[in-house]
Assembly symmetry: C2
Homo-oligomer: 210 residues x 2
Amino acid sequence: MSEFSLEDINQMHHLYRINLINSCSGYKSANLIGTKDETGTSNVAVFSSITHLGSNPGLLGFFLRPTTVIRNTYDNIKNSGKYTLNHIHDGILEDAHHTSAKYDPAISEFDATSLEEEYKDDFLAPFVKGCPIQLAMSYVEEYPIKANNTILLIGKIEKLYVPDELLEKDGFINLSKGKVATINGLDGYAVPELKKRLDYQRPKAEFVKQ
Amino acid sequence: MSEFSLEDINQMHHLYRINLINSCSGYKSANLIGTKDETGTSNVAVFSSITHLGSNPGLLGFFLRPTTVIRNTYDNIKNSGKYTLNHIHDGILEDAHHTSAKYDPAISEFDATSLEEEYKDDFLAPFVKGCPIQLAMSYVEEYPIKANNTILLIGKIEKLYVPDELLEKDGFINLSKGKVATINGLDGYAVPELKKRLDYQRPKAEFVKQ
C-alpha cells in the first residue's frame, strides 16, 4: 500500500502529481465540446469533467482551467452562448485525445483531425459527426472557484440526440451499446461493458421504525 | 435516432426524465462518501458526481441535492469538516448501491449493509474497508448553484491510500487493476478494462506557424 500525505502531494514532481491526482477521483466522462468563434472558425476539445447537476431542468456542468491560459472553448461559449457535447466512442479515441493539443485559435481541430463537423436544426455550434450521443447546450451561468481559480460553467440541455438502439424503455441510455468511452486520469481510455442495473433502493425493514 | 427537445424533456414522465438525463452526460465516478455525525454515528452514501478540480492543491468537488431533502452527508461534513472517498469496486456493487436508500440519520449504513468501516491515522471519518482507493478529505468551500438549488462542495485531499499494484511509475493509478466501477445513469454499473493510454498531444507540424 502506498500512502501520500498532503505534504507528499505538494512536494512530488508535478508530472507525477498530475497523473496521480487526475486518476484518484475515479472514472470520468469523455466528451468533445464543439464551439464556433465570431469569425466562424469551429473548435472542438476533449473534456473529462462534464457532470450531471440536475434533470429538471436538464443541467450539466464542467470545469475550466484558470483564466491565465488560452481557452478557445470558454471564449466561444461566452460569445455565442452555445456549445455541443459529443460522447467520445471507441472509433475516435486517438482523434478525440489529439484535440487536447494547444492549437492556435485560428486553427479548427476539425481540420487537424479526422473528426467531422455536423450541423443540425440550425444550431450554431458544430456537433461531432457519428458520436453516439450529441447534446445541444446553452450557457446558463458560471462560478469562479476561489480555491484554485478554475471556473464551473453550467449549461442547459436544449436538445438531445440518441440512437434508438441505445435507449431503453424507461429512458435509460445504454452507453455501452454505443461503445462510449470513459477516461482514467489524463490519458487512459476504457470502453466499458454494462454489467448490471440495480433496483431503486429502500431501507431494509428491520432498520425502519414502526 | 430519437430526438428530445427542451420542451420534450420538460413534459416527459419524471421517472423517464431522471433516467434519460442522468445517462446523457456519460460515465460517472462511483464513490462512497464516509462521514460521522456529532453523536458518533457513521454514515456512508453512494455519490456519482465526484469530479477532479485541480492537482495542485489536490481538490475534488461533488454536487449535493437541494437543501429541502435530508442530507446526512452534507450535515456531517459541515459539522466535522472531514469525510472520506472510497472507490466502489466489483465486490461491493450491491451494498454500495443500497446506501442510496433513505435511512434515518440514527442508522449507520455500515450496520444495514456488509460494508465495513475502517479507521486510519486518527482520521475522524470512516473509510470503507477493502476499497482499492481511499481518500481522507477536508472541507474547503461550497457554492450554492442558483440554477437548481444544488450545492457544489469542494474538498482538499489530506491523504491518499492506493495499493502498489495499481500505481504505475509515472503516478498513474490503473483503476481497472482495482476493479473500480463506473456508473451509467442512476443504476447501471460497469467495471471497465483499461484499453490504452495515449501520449501527451502537441499540434501537428503542418498547422503550426513558422
